[in-house]
């Protein structure tokens, strides 16, 4: 990369559109009854249809249509009552039929949008969604397993995907990153996919061009593939931006081509083209009648959509009176939001619940690597624990220890407090005895305190807490000490 690029960067802006492939969370493939389960032995999940044996025919999986529709609705897209499956023809060994069944000029939905933040002037930064269409996945070619030969695994062939194509509305790698994170969050909310990038259930291709700032004409674009993380997408866009700027600054022209991101080297390289030309000879698949959705059906699905991230954020601000940071953390995943609301509802104080979840629950989850839906502590037990803190039955510090135990054992907080002797001690006689011992050990300090050095109170409270093993009720200890001093 030439040294001139960073200097020249300021003159140019990046124009990016993203194509996101999302594997739909169906039990079976798009056009046959084979399971979609990941990780099976090669070619286990195959049948005459997805092997493209002569005479086999596709039959559309209705639950895939339902999930695709949910995703399109969540993106605010216009659902088409009639869409057409078309054949995208090309030869490749992992494409058994010699064509991919996809949607072309009549996709499932068009004209959606995703808001990825606010501009300086407070207006929403809306990224247009050109289209959402359904298609089947291809199989996998394995080139490094058998010397001198390639192997084909068709387990993935025919797995249902949606492709979400954005308008070229993104202007930086950071915007692309926000778009992807918010898109993933939205799709998690509507629960249409496992969204696992490592298993390939979410894949991103980027179309990128550059132009001088202020120009309205789009430059020649390249397509960058093979990014396997969102940060990889951001890095790839930066690298490709710099490459294109460098070419333009040196008087060259951008060649329209497909590039592969090399994460190890941090560079892009040209892809080996699958076919000499990319004339896919699309035409409507005569084996599949047009997909017809009734208005009623679409509206019923719309009615069943869960609360989406934006709405949830607004509601959390109004109903729970939480700040932006808390809201962002708690609505990041719908399951965390749900967990939070269950705790807040049972406990009654949203702010306390929010703090506890952000501080304790998420820390334990992060440490254990468990997803929240498999977290053994039920929300109502967390609420009970918070109730105990509020009533003074346990101290905050004891509560943290109890919570750690709850996460390990799934036991109830009261049981743990009892068993481990962590119940807060409010008994006057016991507290007085501890206070006596502390004062007897520090007579000089006690005199100074009584002489007006009020900040020493904390030292005594701390000493009593320590003596009690954290069980003494600090409020009562406080009271006891002040009474004692004035008495």
């Amino acid at each position: 990369m030439s040294g001139s690029a960073p200097i020249a960067n300021g003159k140019y802006e990046m124009v990016v559109g993203l194509e996101v492939h999302v594997q739909l969370r169906t039990r079976t493939k798009l056009f046959c009854n084979c399971p979609t389960q990941f990780g099976e032995p090669p070619n286990r999940n195959t049948c005459p249809v997805c092997l493209a044996l002569p005479g086999s025919l596709p039959v559309l999986n209705e639950s895939a249509v339902e999930l695709a529709t949910r995703a399109a609705l969540a993106l605010g897209a216009e659902l088409h009552e009639e869409s057409i499956f078309a054949r995208k023809n090309y030869f490749y060994p992992d494409l058994p039929k010699g064509y991919q069944i996809s949607q072309f000029d009549k996709p499932l939905a068009t004209k959606g949008q995703l808001v990825i933040g606010e501009r300086g002037d407070g207006t929403a930064m809306r990224i247009g969604i050109t289209r959402v269409h359904m298609e089947e996945d291809a199989g996998k070619s394995i080139h490094d397993r058998f010397p001198g030969a390639s192997a084909i695994d068709l387990n993935r062939a025919g797995v249902p995907l949606i492709e979400i194509v954005s308008e070229p509305d993104l202007r930086s790698s950071a915007e692309a990153g926000s778009y992807l994170r918010l898109l993933r969050q939205l799709l998690e909310y509507v629960d249409v996919s496992d969204l696992n990038m490592e298993e390939g259930s979410l894949r991103v291709d980027a179309n990128i061009s550059v132009r001088r700032r202020g120009a309205t004409q789009l430059g020649t674009k390249t397509e960058v593939k093979n990014m396997n993380s969102f940060s990889g997408v951001e890095r790839a866009l930066e690298a490709e931006f710099a490459r294109q700027v460098d070419i333009l600054e040196n008087g060259g022209v951008i060649e329209q081509q497909t590039l592969l991101w090399d994460a190890d080297r941090g560079t892009v390289r040209p892809a080996r083209s699958k076919e000499g030309s990319h004339d896919y000879r699309y035409f409507p698949d005569p084996d599949l009648p047009p997909l017809r959705l009734t208005k009623d059906w679409i509206e019923r699905l719309r009615g069943h959509l869960p609360e989406l991230p934006d709405a949830k954020r607004r509601r959390f601000a109004e109903q729970h009176r939480l700040g932006t940071y808390d809201i962002d953390v708690l609505t990041a995943s719908p399951r965390i939001a749900e967990y939070f609301e269950a705790v807040a509802h049972a406990h009654g104080d949203a702010k306390t619940a929010a703090n506890w979840i952000m501080g304790e629950v998420l820390a334990v989850l992060k440490q254990s690597g468990l997803p929240i839906e498999r977290f053994p502590v039920r929300p109502r037990d967390v609420a009970t624990l918070l109730d105990m803190v509020r009533s003074g039955a346990v101290s905050r510090s004891a509560a943290k220890r109890i919570f750690a135990r709850m996460a390990e054992t799934g036991d109830l907080p009261a049981q743990i407090a009892e068993r481990e002797g962590l119940a807060q001690v409010g008994d006057e006689a016991q507290l007085a005895a501890w206070v006596d011992e502390v004062l007897a050990a520090q007579p000089a300090e006690w005199d100074r305190y009584r002489g007006g050095e009020k900040k020493l109170l904390g030292v005594f409270v701390g000493a009593v807490m320590k003596k009690s093993g954290g069980r003494a009720d600090p409020k009562k200890v406080n009271q006891l000490l002040t009474t004692r001093a004035s008495g």
Partner: protein
């Protein structure tokens, strides 16, 4: 097989136990060897499975002994075209590329035939991937017409037509994309029916042009064909293009006259250039139909002449995509080469014959960017016009149309070397495929000693009327149908 028995009568006797299915099957094989139906002779049968057939015959006997309900095709031997998947015997499609390919799954039509009691005894020769009108395009050599082995049996389902004409079986399955059952039926002097698109499942029929393909049935008589079609018709959840329309009893109107039936005689099917003897045969049949109570009127289907050019854009376009799966990767012929592209090229060059190659190239061309609108889209528009022609005529009160099936009788082998001349064999039949309507060919007499067929066409899913007219005409013609 007793030549005088209908398939229905034969099934009845098997069920009653008066004839043993195994004997019927043995007679079918005996007849096949007597007339040399195999590669050294008529070359109508590409493969047979005697052992499985006899096993199936014993199974039919056993079921009846155990008191099971008699089935409509109990013990009736049938043959099926080599592009229809069966679990034994190769589904070669008449092609080198699938020469040894045996399907691991069974077509819905064969499953239904077997469920009706039929016994599949062999697979029949065909033009490679059903592309042709004479069965000369088979990779395994041409089939011959049993009525005159110097002539073609027609095609592409020539082997099935020949097996029925030769008296090996009474019922055979073929497939149609543009007349491939009716034209050979006409050439061989048997009955052939192409049902409405969607009437019969295509699951297990190796695709040529999916929007046109439909399994069809040959019968020695109208009744045999009606019985066969009744057994395979109906919605199949494995074929999204099969229709959920009730299946009529096609044999119910066998004895009816034609009082109240309105028959159209489309003038485009009787052009000046038509062989006068074929015209006379058809007009004589129309006279007979009138005598049975039908009214006949002249009608017009003005877009008929566009059918062949339209067909030869749509069918190759779909074929170019449907045949992409024969790439040497998963099954069938593979000719190895160090580079992937070379493996594809060698496999497909050696695996496909010249007509298939021609149509793949044609289809690839018409779907290419820049040509799609001029060819494929335009052809779809013309196709809609052809379908509208039929709709208008049927909406005007006409129940069926009557036409010649083919412009000529069976021609001598090797005489149609120009592909376009060959394509014109389907000039009267391709329209029904493009419009999706049902049509049937039955023998209406002979010209130069060779049979010629008359074609009955009806509106979508009205196979009942199609058969009603065919039964009545067959009865009225009597022996004249074969004179």
């Amino acid at each position: 097989m007793e030549a005088t028995l209908s398939a229905a009568e034969l099934a009845k006797r098997h069920a009653l136990g008066s004839v043993a299915p195994a004997e019927t099957v043995k007679q079918a094989f005996a007849r096949a060897s007597e007339i040399r139906a195999g590669p050294q002779g008529l070359n109508a049968l590409l493969s047979t499975d005697r052992e499985a057939a006899l096993g199936a015959a014993d199974e039919v006997s056993r079921l009846h002994r155990e008191g099971n309900r008699p089935r409509p095709l109990a013990g009736v031997p049938v043959v099926v075209k080599a592009n229809i998947a069966t679990l034994t015997m190769p589904t070669s499609c008449g092609s080198r590329i699938l020469e040894h390919y045996v399907s691991p799954f069974e077509s819905t039509v064969v499953t239904r035939l077997r469920a009706a009691g039929a016994i599949v005894i062999g697979k029949t020769n065909m033009d490679e991937f059903a592309m042709g009108s004479s069965t000369e395009n088979s990779a395994f050599g041409p089939a011959k017409n049993p009525l005159d082995p110097t002539r073609v049996p027609g095609g592409s389902s020539g082997g099935s037509a020949a097996c029925v004409a030769a008296g090996i079986v009474r019922i055979a399955l073929g497939s149609e994309t543009g007349g491939s059952v009716r034209q050979p039926a006409s050439f061989c002097g048997v009955v052939g029916v192409k049902p409405t698109y969607g009437r019969v499942s295509r699951y297990g029929l190796v695709a040529f042009a999916s929007s046109l393909d439909q399994v069809g049935v040959f019968g020695r008589t109208v009744d045999d064909a009606a019985l066969g079609l009744g057994a395979i018709a109906g919605r199949d959840r494995y074929d999204s293009t099969s229709a959920d329309v009730p299946v009529d009893d096609y044999r119910a109107l066998a004895d009816r006259d034609l009082e109240g039936v309105k028959i159209g005689r489309p003038r485009e099917y009787f052009p000046e250039s038509l062989d006068a003897r074929i015209r006379d045969r058809c007009d004589a049949s129309l006279e007979l139909l009138r005598g049975l109570g039908a009214t006949v009127r002249d009608v017009s289907l003005p877009h008929t002449e566009l059918a062949i050019p339209t067909y030869y854009i749509i069918a190759p376009a779909e074929a170019s995509s449907n045949l992409a799966r024969f790439d040497g990767v998963r099954y069938g012929l593979r000719v190895n080469a160090p580079a992937l592209r070379d493996m594809y090229e060698r496999t497909r060059s050696e695996g496909f014959g010249p007509e298939v190659t021609r149509r793949i190239l044609l289809g690839t061309y018409v779907l290419s960017a820049g040509y799609y609108d001029a060819y494929y889209r335009k052809a779809q528009e013309v196709r809609a016009l052809i379908a509208d022609d039929f709709r208008r005529v049927f909406d005007s009160g006409v129940n069926v149309l009557f036409t010649p099936t083919a412009p000529t009788p069976a021609f001598p082998l090797g005489t149609r070397s120009d592909p376009y001349d060959m394509y014109l064999s389907d000039i009267f039949t391709a329209t029904a495929n493009l419009a999706g309507i049902p049509a049937l060919s039955l023998p209406v007499g002979r010209v130069d000693g060779m049979p010629v067929g008359g074609q009955v066409m009806a509106s979508h899913f009205d196979e009942a009327t199609l058969f009603r007219v065919a039964y009545a005409l067959e009865r009225a013609l009597g022996e004249d149908a074969h004179r």
